[in-house]
């Protein structure tokens, strides 16, 4: 008998045993005979022209096999790294797309920019020899701050963008919004810095490429969230290789959070070099390289305004954002502060008019791209800080002002392009308030005051849009890729099942969740189902895992393939039972003829498909193996309410998160244990942004000041509390699983909730993230001075 209650069950993860015993296989764990090691020589300057590169000394160093520079790559016809999303500006012109050579050609544009690669027998030999490479630079002035990028006289990074502007893009009806503001009773205005973050997956990026002369093929092991996309971009756009000659394997991957979506220079260079030297080439990032080269997140500067009527009803919102792209356009950089940001500004509210203008700029910094949440945390921060501040200014309860503006009827068309299919924001708010015991907050605040602590409470009612889709709409908005997912269900003769998915798990637990979906649908034991992912050599195709899309899109693709298996199984069963196909029903792993006691189990049908003796060979192919592609009709819209309670030590400015409540609506939940884990992780990253994490560059030199974990503060166990979680369920209306996605919610909602709580505790209007002890202390000092004056 199969597992009947798999959906919604906290099945323990099947991937855990290997991880817990050290038997996981991450890219750096893979060792290929004769493998050599690459070390990348990187720019020590933020901006410079390269006058000369002298290779001779490095080439003569012990163990060195090769040294390659941008010139070598150009001679080998290696193209630049592509950007996968074309944004068209308000002027009707396409965004500026500067070349992004895998190794610098003539100029470097951020500290860490790749200048050359040294390949040697051992890693230390490559690193030693790299110091002998002679690179003469002419150092140029650099610009690192978003605010300075378009200033007169700012140094230009790229010839094609002399004002460092990639695009100016807008969404919404500006004149209608302006009109609404002119007649509003109240306007709340805030300026935000959305601090730049470094993803810091604990596994550093790594790539190991090998070339096989016998059949002119390549194999690349790489820490990637989407091996098929990596292969497509690399073969079709950069190396000009035939796609079928390149196999990309993303084995166990130690966290991604967006940073392992992209095609990186190192992946391309080691792949290309493996043929040049006819040896496998391995590169594994040191953490300092991760800081310099993994695509960063956020880095927005925003002015935002909310217009309200006298009752606190939102009339209009106006947002102006400048977003850094960094020095080059990373794979999906351009769509993050536009398509994934401005479209979210309605939040959970009926704000009828919204206008958002986004200016994307180049700066002499590491490229910026999607990092957990990707545009949606920035949007939520704008909306939820504005709403909370408006409530305070208008002396309205922050929950009440939200209630007055909640969307209550679905489907709901926002003024910023999205069509919300379903939701119940009142339910998540109410549940969060109960779980957080908002009613008891006043007493807790008094008690804290008696202990000399300042206690504050803040909300964030977030919405996100997951599983970007459908492909044709995304295409019309500039996407240069499809946004479907593929899956294959291979039923073996014994009725055991191997499932191949184009989604990729790097912590999400697909091997368990997807197996639950398949086993439940087929009515077979979960142990009879294995999930395979992360290998272009085994999986038909895939778009990978990002944007909380795996279950909603990848899971649905698998389900469609399962349904094809069942449909074919019914034909076989009908033949076996000598019944009409239309009379055959499938449930609990058994094919039955309706209204009779005739039945055949799934395994017997599978065996029949492969041993087709008693089989309708004239009408049906043997075998039981189906695949499916699924292209969703809409985004999914997870939403929820977070309540954060903090205590501030006024002596030091330290902030302690004493309670954090999250009530989410992710639609149907397949594995609540895994979902809770995703929320915990997301919340901690969001809390990290609000309290600890800040990527900083030196304004004058362009040097990265937070280039190691000694200076960039990652959340640790003692920075966060145990979380209080609950879920509410409004199933997604347009996928058969009813699921919405849960991977990013925590990181999206948490920053606003934390900052709303801190500003409440301090009694100040605004505070910049991260709320470090010194910033909090200064805010308190300033408040004291203002009071005295």
């Amino acid at each position: 008998m199969g597992d009947m209650n798999l959906i919604g069950s906290a099945v323990k993860r099947r991937e855990d045993y290997r991880f817990l015993t050290g038997a996981g296989t991450y890219t750096d764990d893979v060792q290929i005979d004769r493998q050599s090691y690459a070390y990348f020589v990187r720019s020590p300057h933020a901006h410079a022209t390269i006058k000369r590169i002298g290779k001779d000394k490095a080439l003569k160093a012990p163990g060195v096999l090769a040294v390659f520079t941008g010139e070598d790559l150009a001679a080998g016809k290696v193209a630049g790294l592509p950007c996968g999303w074309l944004i068209t500006g308000v002027d009707g012109q396409p965004m500026k797309e500067p070349a992004h050579p895998p190794l610098a050609q003539g100029k470097v544009r951020h500290v860490g920019d790749q200048v050359a690669v040294v390949i040697a027998e051992t890693y230390l030999q490559a690193k030693d020899a790299a110091e002998l490479l002679e690179v003469d630079y002419d150092v140029l002035p650099a610009v690192v701050d978003v605010a300075d990028a378009r200033k007169k006289g700012a140094p230009a990074l790229h010839e094609i963008a002399p004002d460092n502007t990639c695009y100016i893009w807008a969404l919404g009806d500006k004149s209608a919004v302006d009109k609404a503001f002119a007649s509003a009773q109240h306007v709340t205005r805030l300026d935000f810095v959305n601090n730049r973050l470094v993803p810091n997956a604990v596994e550093p990026r790594a790539a190991l490429a090998s070339y096989n002369r016998a059949d002119d093929s390549y194999t690349l092991y790489v820490a990637s969230q989407n091996p098929h996309v990596e292969r497509l971009l690399m073969t079709a756009f950069v190396l000009g290789l035939p796609e079928h000659k390149v196999r990309v394997i993303a084995p166990d991957v130690g966290g991604g959070f967006g940073s392992k979506i992209y095609l990186y220079a190192e992946d391309v260079v080691v792949t290309w070099a493996s043929k040049q030297i006819n040896r496998p080439v391995k590169w594994t990032a040191e953490r300092s390289e991760s800081f310099l080269t993994d695509a960063h997140g956020r880095d927005h500067l925003t002015h935002a305004e909310l217009a309200l009527d006298k009752d606190g009803k939102f009339l209009a919102m106006r947002v102006q954002t400048t977003a850094s792209m960094g020095a080059y356009l990373s794979t999906f950089a351009s769509c993050i502060p536009t398509i994934l940001y401005a479209t979210l500004l309605a939040g959970q509210y009926t704000t009828p008019l919204i206008y958002c203008e986004v200016t994307a700029v180049f700066t002499n910094t590491t490229p910026v791209d999607a990092y957990r949440g990707a545009g949606r945390p920035e949007a939520t921060y704008v909306v939820e800080r504005l709403v909370e501040t408006a409530a305070r200014e208008m002396k309205l309860d922050p929950a009440e002002i939200r209630r007055r503006n909640f969307i209550r009827e679905f489907p709901y068309q926002t003024p910023v392009a999205l069509l919300y299919d379903t939701g119940n924001y009142e339910a998540t708010l109410g549940a969060a308030m109960n779980l957080a015991d908002v009613a008891g907050f006043a007493a807790r605040r008094r008690q804290a005051a008696e202990r000399g602590k300042l206690r504050g409470l803040g909300y964030a009612a977030y919405i996100e849009a997951c599983g970007i889709a459908p492909s044709n709409v995304a295409g019309s908005l500039g996407a240069r890729a499809g946004l479907f997912e593929a899956g294959e269900v291979r039923v073996h003769p014994t009725g055991k099942v191997t499932v191949f998915t184009g989604s990729h798990s790097h912590g999400q637990g697909h091997e368990t969740t997807f197996a639950q979906v398949v086993a439940s649908r087929l009515g077979i034991p979960i142990d009879d189902v294995d999930i395979v992912h992360g290998d272009t050599g085994r999986i038909l195709f895939g778009m990978g895992t990002y944007g909380s899309r795996s279950l909603a899109v990848g899971g649905t693709a698998i389900l469609k393939a399962v349904d094809k298996v069942i449909a074919k199984g019914k034909k076989i069963a009908a033949h076996l039972m000598e019944a009409a196909e239309t009379d055959v029903e499938f449930a609990d792993g058994v094919f039955k003829v309706a209204g009779t006691d005739k039945q055949v189990p799934f395994a017997q049908v599978a065996l029949t498909a492969y041993v087709p003796h008693n089989y309708p060979l004239d009408k049906l192919e043997p075998g039981l193996n189906e695949n499916a592609f699924y292209d969703p009709t809409n985004f999914t819209f997870p939403a929820g309410t977070y309540v954060c309670e903090v205590e501030v030590d006024p002596d030091t400015g330290s902030v302690d998160i004493v309670s954090f409540t999250a009530v989410d609506d992710f639609g149907k939940i397949i594995n609540p244990m895994i979902v809770a884990g995703q929320v915990h992780g997301g919340l901690t990253q969001g809390i990290g942004q609000a309290l600890l994490e800040n990527c900083r560059y030196d304004k004058a030199s362009g040097q990265l000041l937070t280039g190691s974990l000694l200076d960039y503060c990652m959340p640790r166990a003692d920075n966060v509390p145990s979380f209080k979680l609950d879920t509410k369920e409004t199933p997604c209306t347009h996928n058969p699983l009813g699921v919405k996605g849960c991977g990013e919610a925590g990181a999206i909602g948490a920053p606003a909730a934390v900052m709303n709580a801190i500003t409440d505790a301090l009694g100040v209007r605004d505070l910049e993230m991260p709320a470090t002890p010194e910033r909090v202390w200064r805010a308190l000092e300033q408040a004291k001075t203002q009071k005295a004056a």
Partner: protein, 157 residues
């Protein structure tokens, strides 16, 4: 000039000639091919490389293999029973979903076992404070804390 080093790893004696600058973690991963011990940073912050040396948890990316001369080392590969049965702490991590991508996990488990041995009574605050040498980017620590508490209890019983 290579130097000789002798030590015991997971109960097996090992002798090798090494370059003095060899880090213990590189010796364990590259030479012994015990790849469960991971490298996540280069400044001894992340703790992914945590192993036990003479019964105490250490970060083996931040020491030379020569510093382990004569020492008795246990890596994550030496924690489960010979028949593959998980150690109570490993079991607790699985039971409480104390891991996601698995990369920090070996170091986290090694650190947690050490922690459990050092404290008779582990409350949440102590666990959180004492886990400050291990960084996890996935779990938000919530379930790790629960796992350590349960694992410590199971180790005592």
């Amino acid at each position: 000039m290579p130097v000789k080093v002798s030590l015991t790893v997971n109960g097996k004696p090992v002798t090798a000639d090494v370059e003095p600058r060899t880090l213990l973690v590189d010796f364990i991963r590259a030479q012994l091919r015990l790849t469960g011990t991971h490298v996540g940073c280069d400044t001894a912050q992340c703790g992914a490389c945590t192993i036990h040396m003479n019964g105490a948890a250490v970060k083996c990316c931040n020491m030379l293999v020569m510093q382990a001369q004569g020492a008795n080392l246990v890596t994550i590969e030496g924690i489960a029973a010979a028949d593959g049965k998980l150690h109570p702490m490993q079991e607790a991590f699985r039971e409480h979903h104390g891991l996601q991508c698995g990369f920090c996990t070996p170091g986290m488990v090694m650190s947690a076992i050490d922690l459990a041995k050092r404290h008779a009574n582990l409350n949440e605050a102590t666990i959180r404070a004492e886990l400050d040498g291990n960084i996890c980017r996935c779990t938000g620590y919530h379930n790790i804390v629960k796992a350590v508490q349960a694992g410590a209890q199971a180790m005592r019983s």
